[in-house]
Symmetry: C2
Subunit: 462 residues, 2 copies
């Protein structure tokens, strides 16, 4: 909270004391909690405790993180502030702010860094912790992470975390420098770098990236969104010049190909009557495909008035997600890849009912339990999407807004369709809808099961 104070001092903003006060109080509460529980410290943290710590961690951070906005008065309603900061920590990027630029720089920085912190949390969570909890196919990656071995919680998680965060920091710094080089000021550059690497999508401008007309800025963002949506272990291996690992990674290949093909198809079909250059058509199309697939949610033009085909595709992209082990949310490429391949092999199995035909990812046969895990994840994801769309419609939202809001929040993307489209925001939604959507962001960000398991009766038994 206090990290943005230098900017507020520089720009002579009025949020210095609020940030200072909130920062100090939060630190004191944290210190007290630590002080009174330090002797009851347990080293035998089990799975149940794991689920609780992770879910409550995100919740408590958001409960405290919302306070500065309310105290400063720039977001008077606590529900709104909670929605905004939950959208930050879950790297969603959905906003209730009608005028982002009216916020003082310290609060803007807090808003952006919340996404960056959320992204850091997710990398470690998805590569080091969730696989050990056995969440919907995340086990696939446990073995691939340097320093992580199966069924061991402690050993080198700290080491791994440090390495991955190192890459995260390097990429963020690199993007900041490049964005400044392309014409952004330091404040905007570092804020956008924070929210790109986290695939968050908060911008410091009301018009999001449409504010910046420079093609260079857009291309830089496209590249870094793409990198942020890539499995961070691949960056690690690439930095160590182990390119064979990158080249043989099925998910990365599927991710790159899918983005390229979708961008080209949309480029061809999206606005045949528009008189703009081919380069700009390609850039606009690629920008939004990358932005939505990686679940960043930056907007460089209002695609709601593009061809209906593009709009449906953009809606479907809310369900794709980046690679596992990236900061991207939603269902994720590896799950789609596995399900698609399994569906295809299912046809083969019908023709050869006695043959055992395993699904292979990266050359390795995937055990049937994990496939069933991933299938259950997908089905649960669709179920949650459908149920929350229905509940949202009861609050009075129209059809498109209901499905758009629930899809984009569950997928941690940001922009939806209908009245929560790319150039709109979530401020007009009723409070109940905002609370439900905040919950959806959390559920989606923590791979569904981490949160839902807490609500199952068997979790609390004994």
């Amino acid at each position: 909270m206090m990290s943005g104070i230098p900017f507020s001092v520089y720009y002579q903003d009025n949020d210095i004391f609020v940030l200072l006060g909130c920062g100090i109080s939060t630190s004191i509460i944290g210190a007290l909690l630590w002080f009174f529980t330090r002797k009851t410290e347990r080293t035998d943290i089990g799975k149940r405790e794991g689920y609780l710590i992770v879910s409550l961690g995100w919740l408590v951070m958001s409960l405290f993180g919302a306070v500065p906005f309310v105290l400063h008065g720039s977001i008077p309603s606590y529900t709104d502030a909670f929605f905004e900061i939950m959208s930050g920590f879950t790297t969603t990027g959905a906003s209730i702010l009608d005028d982002i630029e009216a916020l003082p720089h310290g609060l803007l920085f807090w808003r952006s860094i919340s996404q960056w912190i959320g992204g850091m949390g997710i990398i470690v969570l998805s590569l080091a912790i969730l696989p050990l909890l056995g969440i919907g196919g995340m086990q696939l990656y446990a073995a691939e992470v340097p320093g992580i071995t199966k069924d061991k919680f402690h050993p080198r998680v700290k080491e791994t975390a440090k390495r991955l965060w190192g890459i995260y920091v390097i990429l963020t710094s690199l993007e900041t420098i490049l964005l400044m080089f392309a014409g952004m000021n330091f404040f905007d550059a570092i804020n956008h770098s924070f929210t790109t690497l986290a695939t968050g999508g908060f911008s410091t401008k009301n018009a999001s990236i449409a504010y910046y007309t420079s093609p260079f800025i857009q291309y830089i963002l496209i590249i870094f969104m793409f990198l942020a949506g890539t499995n961070f272990t691949l960056h690690y291996f690439a930095l160590h010049r182990n390119f064979s690992f990158v080249k043989t990674n099925d998910e990365f290949k599927a991710y790159s190909l899918f983005i390229l093909i979708t961008a080209i198809v949309i480029m061809i079909l999206h606005h045949p009557h528009l008189e703009i250059s081919l380069e700009e058509k390609f850039r606009q199309s690629l920008f939004h495909v990358v932005s939505l697939v990686t679940t960043t949610g930056y907007v460089s033009s209002d695609y709601e008035n593009w061809a209906i085909f593009s709009r449906i595709v953009f809606f479907v992209l809310l369900f794709i997600g980046g690679c596992a082990g990236s900061t991207g949310g939603s269902i994720k490429i590896v799950r789609h890849y596995l399900l698609f391949k399994n569906g295809f092999l299912e046809l083969k199995r019908l023709v050869h009912p006695r043959a055992v035909i395993p699904v292979r990812v990266n050359g390795k046969a995937i055990p049937p339990e994990i496939i069933s895990n991933v299938q259950a994840f997908f089905i649960l994801y669709i179920l949650i999407f459908v149920l929350s769309s229905i509940i949202l419609s009861v609050t009075g939202l129209d059809f498109l807004t209901s499905i758009g809001a629930s899809a984009t929040c569950l997928g941690n993307v940001g922009p939806g369709i209908g009245t929560v489209g790319p150039v709109a925001n979530f401020s007009h939604l009723p409070d109940f809808a905002k609370i439900l959507l905040s919950f959806l962001m959390l559920v989606g960000r923590l791979e569904l099961f981490t949160v839902l398991v807490i609500f199952s009766p068997s979790f609390w038994r004994r």
Copy 2:
């Protein structure tokens, strides 16, 4: 085709010679095909042949069935006529007719009886043939059908078919009598009985069931739609006074409860400002819930102007479907039940990772392969829905029409949303969309895999 001629004679219609000519030519072609292939008859029909026979059967019937409409001139376009009769044989009920009542009685009867024939085909297919082919969970029912034993194709399929068809005929006759008793004339009564038992939904009236204001007619239809959406083996057991089997059937319980609860919730929420009696509210709500869940698709009022909540729920109902072994289409209750239960147990498995927790249906543990089968079915269903919605949008349809048309045709329901809503029809769609939707009806009706397997390379290898 010739079965409707008596009505045309009675009502002095101009379609007598067309039906007679088409009927005789089709018979001659059939006889020739039989004559020239009778010596090459094979008794060792395998799975591959099974898929081909079933898929081509439906296709060839529709190719021939469309002819009378074109020759008579009441549906000038062959594409339109093909769509209409495919919608008949697949018991979908989607229509391209702007003025149904303008059709002569013989053709109307052909249109209705195509659904009845389709329904007959589906009962035998789903209870006797698909389980042996191992299609997405249909194996669950193989053991329960009287006279069917696992892995045996021939033995008593004929016997079973006769019994089930007996029940089908009895229910159809009973409904016809009751509808006449409630005020319909014989022609309308028998036509609606045909399309109710088949969960088809073709009506002889432009306004569908909204034409009949009598509450009795609506209640009779509700009851028979409900029965048509029930597993026909349950009717068989009930007729043999074996009620314990009916009482312990999980799918039937889930089906009844789901319909009742949904109808009550919609009754409470759908039009709070409308000044009609509670009975009528309940009846309207129940009618549409039963009509959509069983995939019949009759319409008794324009629910497109109900509350948004109801409309979203009605859209979601397109994905539910009747019980397995009924004439209902779509995903079907037993699959939802199994997936829902498995999702819930998945949470339990996360808490107790070492315990083996099987999914039980009707008290029996379901093998993991079948669960994975059903999961793959569900995912493939969603994939086909999404892809065809995208393709439809390229033909120029709007968002709601695209998703509505593909959902309702794939689910064999009938009415969609948008411009193919409950009081609209499919006549304004471009030819390409009609062909795609006809294909979707076939794919949905034959449980996806039966048709799709034919397009897999491994099907044709060796």
